[in-house]
């Protein structure tokens, strides 16, 4: 199906490349983030202004939040947490630009990120505790340990699934509502929704970030 109102896919289709929309738009977000990063780090000043100010507030606030929740151990996992928040946030917000589609409205993007999170927190658990990481799965009492092991394995596998579905459902739903409202009353009906969805998309990015942080906290601390 050809969708002429989506800018990037039209360009790439014109070039004869058939790349899925969500991949294209997440490349776009990556490009924007890399450009912003180079722009900020090129001229760092002690008294921040403009873009540097914005990034210092976001990253500084996130770091305080992570260290307050995980403790000092949180500093070594902070880079990926911050990346997740900013990346998802920008991906969600691209859905509000005319001519763009949110990559997170496609379940594949979210599943990829959720699987990365799943592997990453288990990696830290194994790195921190070695074979003793299995204690996280056995529960507090020894005689129900086999049952607890089964339940814990199910609940761990359910984590990436719930991360994926929550983000996908929310963002996809917002996109659909925007389209429906636009067909009802162009621009007039969609404009107020932008404020609500701008907030909701930020909250969804924050929820993904916060759950990742909670999972990492669980794998970093000792089992009890």
């Amino acid at each position: 199906m050809h969708q002429g109102w989506l800018i990037l896919p039209s360009i790439f289709e014109g070039m004869g490349l058939n790349i899925p929309h969500n991949v294209l738009f997440s490349w776009f977000v990556l490009l924007v983030l890399v450009l912003m990063g180079t722009m900020v780090t090129k001229k760092l000043s002690l008294v921040p202004s403009g873009l540097q100010n914005f990034f210092e507030i976001v990253i500084g606030g996130l770091e305080d939040f992570v260290v307050a929740n995980i403790g000092e151990a949180g500093r070594k996992v902070f880079p990926i947490l911050c990346t997740i928040f900013i990346y998802i946030w920008f991906m969600n917000l691209t859905g509000l630009l005319p001519g763009f589609d949110a990559p997170t409205a496609n379940i594949n993007t979210n599943a990829a990120m959720a699987i990365v999170v799943f592997l990453y927190y288990n990696y830290w658990g194994i790195k921190e505790h070695g074979f003793g990481y299995i204690k996280h799965f056995l529960g507090p009492v020894s005689f129900i340990a086999p049952l607890m092991f089964v339940i814990e394995v199910i609940s761990h596998i359910s984590r990436p699934l719930s991360l994926t579905l929550r983000l996908f459902g929310n963002i996809r739903g917002e996109e659909i509502v925007l389209i429906l409202l636009f067909t009802l009353a162009p621009v007039v009906a969609t404009l107020p929704m932008y404020f609500l969805f701008g907030l909701a998309k930020t909250i969804q990015a924050f929820i993904f970030f916060m759950l990742t942080m909670i999972y990492l906290k669980g794998s970093l601390e000792h089992a009890h």
Partner: protein, 95 residues
């Protein structure tokens, strides 16, 4: 800080955050349990050791238990956060 959601909206945003996380945790664990049981049954039948409905039922029950465990942990986390909050309100930090 900007991520201190509580100060701006009186805790409504944080409650929204908690409310949206709890429901899916219950549901997804159930479905993971069901899927494991279903495909285990299928695979066991293929290798000629058929236990048709039983694995599905067993793993579904385990999945439901896991879902409730998830919700319980989530509630405990919220409770802890609220206690911390109440303490902070009762003994405000001195400047």
């Amino acid at each position: 800080m900007i991520f201190n959601l509580k100060n701006k909206s009186g805790g409504a945003l944080e409650m929204l955050l908690n409310a949206t996380t709890i429901g899916l945790h219950l549901v997804t664990a159930t479905f993971v349990g069901l899927a494991i049981g279903y495909f285990l049954d299928k695979w066991l039948c293929d290798i000629g050791w058929c236990t048709k409905p039983w694995m599905t039922i067993l793993w579904l029950v385990c999945g439901i238990a896991a879902g409730f465990k998830n919700v319980y942990l989530e509630v405990k986390r919220i409770q802890k956060a609220q206690e911390k909050d109440d303490d902070a309100r009762r003994n405000p930090p001195k400047d």
